[in-house]
Amino acid sequence: MSHATLIPRSALAGLTFHSASRPNVLAWDLPPVSLASVVSRRGPVAELRRRALAELGVALPEGPRRVSAGFISLVGIGPGAWLAIADRLDADFHIRIGRTLGPCASVADQSGAHALLRLSGAQIRSTLGKLLPIDLYPRAFAVGAAATTAAAQIPVHLWRLEDGTGGHPVFEIAVPRSLAVSFWHALTESAAEFGFALNP
């Protein structure tokens, strides 16, 4: 019997960067949380919506939006497809959602599939402007907006949270775990001229 213990490891562990000194772009490597893909099954989506509202307390977002209630957030990532995000690492998260939504949805554990980063700072829009082909202007991408797009050729999900202290916008981005190192390079290179800090 082995005594090695299984502890989760961040996809960004041990990565470094170089940048100008005063940080105007801030990133946080978020603690691990559970994620699941939710795809509506054949048939009307109304029953799925009803169950989500009744059992999880969330109105399933229509289109690219993020909603949050209690322990769960849901981000619309495609027609009839959502990314469910728990507020902590919970091995039973996808099972619980799967049971709750029953035969109305296919739910698959994706806790290991993404690296999650929170991004903010005075120059975060200029930085993301070098990576994302979408408009992050406040009027175009309001709080609660979400997008499934590509950052420097890497498929990502992105959503906007409430502004942070200092009035700067706050985004979270989900990057395929295997591409996290490449994304990190693209992000830190793009932010370098503005100054970058990790987990400030």
């Binding site: 054949r42 554990d109 070098k130 994302l132 202007y137 190192v181």
Partner: protein, 1005 residues
Amino acid sequence: MSEAAQPKRISRGGMIDRARALSFRFDDRDYTGYAGDTLASALLANGIRRVGRSFKYHRSRGVLTAGPEEPNALVELRTGDRREPNTRATVTELFAGLEARSQNRWPSLALDLGAVSSCFSPLFVAGFYYKTFMWPKSFWEKLYEPAIRRAAGLGRASGQPDPDGYEKSFGFCDVLVIGAGPAGLAAALAAARRGARVVLCEEDFLLGGRLNAERCSIDGSDAVDWVRRVEAELASFADVRILRRTSVFGLYDGTAGSHSASGTRTFGAVERVSDHLQQPPQFQPRQRLWKIVARRAVLAAGAVERTIAFGGNDRPGIMLASAVRSYVNRFAVLPGRRVAVFTSTDDGWKAAFDLSEAGASVEALIDARGEPPASLIEQLRATGARLYAGSRVVEGHGSAGLSGVTIMDSQARRTRLRVDALAVSGGWNPNLALATHTGSKPRWSERIHAFVPDVLPGGLAVAGAARGALTLREALSEGAEAGAAAAEQLGFSGAAGEQWRADEEASEVAPLWFVGESRGKAFVDFQHDVTHEDVALAAREGFRSVEHLKRYTTLGMATDQGRTSALNAHAIMSALTGRSIAELGTPGARPPCTPVAIGAFAGPHRGRHFRPTRRTAGHGWAQEQGATFIEAGDWLRAQWFAQPGESDWQATVDREVKAVRTRVGLCDVSTLGKVDIQGRDAAKFLDRVYSNVFSTLPVGKVRYGLMLREDGFVLDDGTSAHLSPDHYVMSTTTANAQRVLQHLEHARQLLWPDLDVRLASVTEQWAQYAIAGPESRRLLEQALGDALSVSNQAFPYLACAEFRWQGVPARLFRISFSGELAYELAVPAQYGDAAVRAIAAAGASLGVVPYGLESLNVMRIEKGHLTGNELNGTTTAADLGMGRLMSTRKDFIGRVLAQRPGLTDPRRPALVGVRPIDPYSPVRSGAHFLSMGEPPTLENDQGYVTSAAFSPMLNSWIALGLLSRGRERLGERIRIHDPVRSGTDVEVEVVAPVFFDPAGERLVT
């Protein structure tokens, strides 16, 4: 710095900073200029007129323009790995320590041996090379072309990797304004004042356009003051972005989701972030490529003055009149002391006034028109210049630089004047290329004798000189109107009041394209050395359309696109063929409309960042184990794990294979594609996408499956595991993961939308490790403990299970690619690193070794298992010996077309094994099969080797291959022919494609 060092510098005025002298080098000599200079203005200030040699005839050339349309003043800028050829001196900002060299001359600019080609110039007409170097044909590639390329061509690339960085950026706005001259500034301000989000792009480092180069006023004060006021107001808007040193080079279709009919367009632009510096500051790119998505755009790119084709119109010292005004007024440089002006426009006269004001002696004003406006004649009186009305310049003299001109007056009398500079004005061509990038053709204007935009792409407006409105008054009003209209179309409204007053200007143009009485060459393309004679030749030889003229003579095909003179050639063609210029038309323009470095298009995606790289969760662990990595698609996979003392990779692989086959090995297989399949119809779906049956597979079991394309060829192979009643997980090959998912989604969404089944890629979710070898069960027992029983009874071959390992969701599959007793253990990827360490620790006492892709490959060849080498898109299930997996009890994708005669032909190559008679004779994949004694011809080809390896278990080279009628030929001796790599043929025996443990006993023990 003393003024004497800059002999042509005017002592006062100009938009240069005389407090900041900058030293620079040109052709190994030191000079001084000022901040605010371009390289061209600094060279002119230092009295340098000759800056390069021409492309074909090696004629001396000087600065013609003061802008990006420059055809002559192309230099090699910087040195070493930063050397940039063909850099336009007219847009190169001077910086301290700048180094530049003239091009296309040897050994020096003054003494250029290539100039002898001018003596033979009657030979070097259009089409000369094609006509002359035809024979013998074989000489073209080896002799003629290299020699011609050496003689011609312009600068030299550095040949070294570019040390600087390039970036891409996406921009979005309501209104994009292209050009910050009077029209652009007015447009930007009008749009900004109404609340629109505005991006203003200007090629120059200063805003203002022609206002910086002309003596004119707005609202009664100096126009430059107006520019500064507008610039300050624009800067005060949070939603206005001004991009200086930025060229918009292309207009593209609307973006996805915003139909182009809505007006939204995508533009390409390049921002020269650090080109004006010795080298980019830390963290700054040299250039940034912008993709700008604009809901509306205003093109206010101004116009380019064109030359007049007369004999010797390329002499250094002959300049466009507008350029003369730029150098005098903006850069405080006097291009000549004794000057003349040759014009067919009112506008050209201004050069005479400005030159005179700056202290030059204006010797003559030559106007081709018989009766120039009286107001101009009155104004000229003060300069003392002699007016030659109804006259032309027929020749420019001075091969090293202009020394004089010969004038023919209205009575056909010739007069030679001694001058050192000549300003030429032949009219204005609107900068309208962007308006034509989506395919619309411009329209001929009889008013300004130039092409002007006609039907515009949706969302684009054109204002000012770019539309043919050549006066300042028109530019201001059209700009303001266009900017306001763009904003208002988008629902912005509010403040107006963009009413600016500018003086009346005389702006009449009479066309003068070519002086028929010319002596000597009259150039219609300076950069490509195309003359009026070439146009005449093209006309004689039938190349009469503008597109043919262009391609036959290379007119307008150089980097300047012939902006200053191609229209003169069209006019000559028009006269020769009796068609109007409007009928003749103008060649289509495609993006980019200005030269853009290829590095800017590549951006940061170069070298190892050309595309993103995928790493598995166990990457760090593999690195610690000494892995050598190899690119497998987007992934980096461990190729082998060399240990100290191993002589080469073959020794490493031999050790790894033997360890797996005798003890136990550990291999990261996370890169294989994984698809989660859920739904009541999941089994039915699998039956339809696989050629073999899956609906009979019980929960808790895995089955190998073969997937065909619609056309009957094999698409991919893999396994699917039945996890719970409506839930499967499919594995695909690494290479085909995305393609298979696409194929499955196509089938699900389009072919059978009625099936209740949903797919999700879970490739990223699971880190998966193969544990293979006789000791693999003991290893797992030690690693998993009580989490799962892995005894042969509880967990037989092809079993699968979901379970918790230390509370972590885990999956175990008893499948084997190596042919050994083997398992694949999967955990969520965030535990992948911890899991591989736990497995390695549990196996330490059993002598577990990590093994890589190469060992995996050796073992699968020993077992005759397939990879992409065999599943290469040209093989059928039967070819691969998998005919038994083609179910006859159900329908599936590819079933019908797999029965085509061509796919069931018994002569098709079939999968076989081969072993060399001499076990140490290497066999390489790609080598071809031949029957013994037959010559190596295409007709005798019998197939080829798909995979080969040295098997340490058999102590012999072994290989898989596709051999014609292969299955009937077991035991036959054939030979392998590999002329490209080895030369000598290898004799081999055809055997069954399973070399090791053919009965598969190791799998089930």
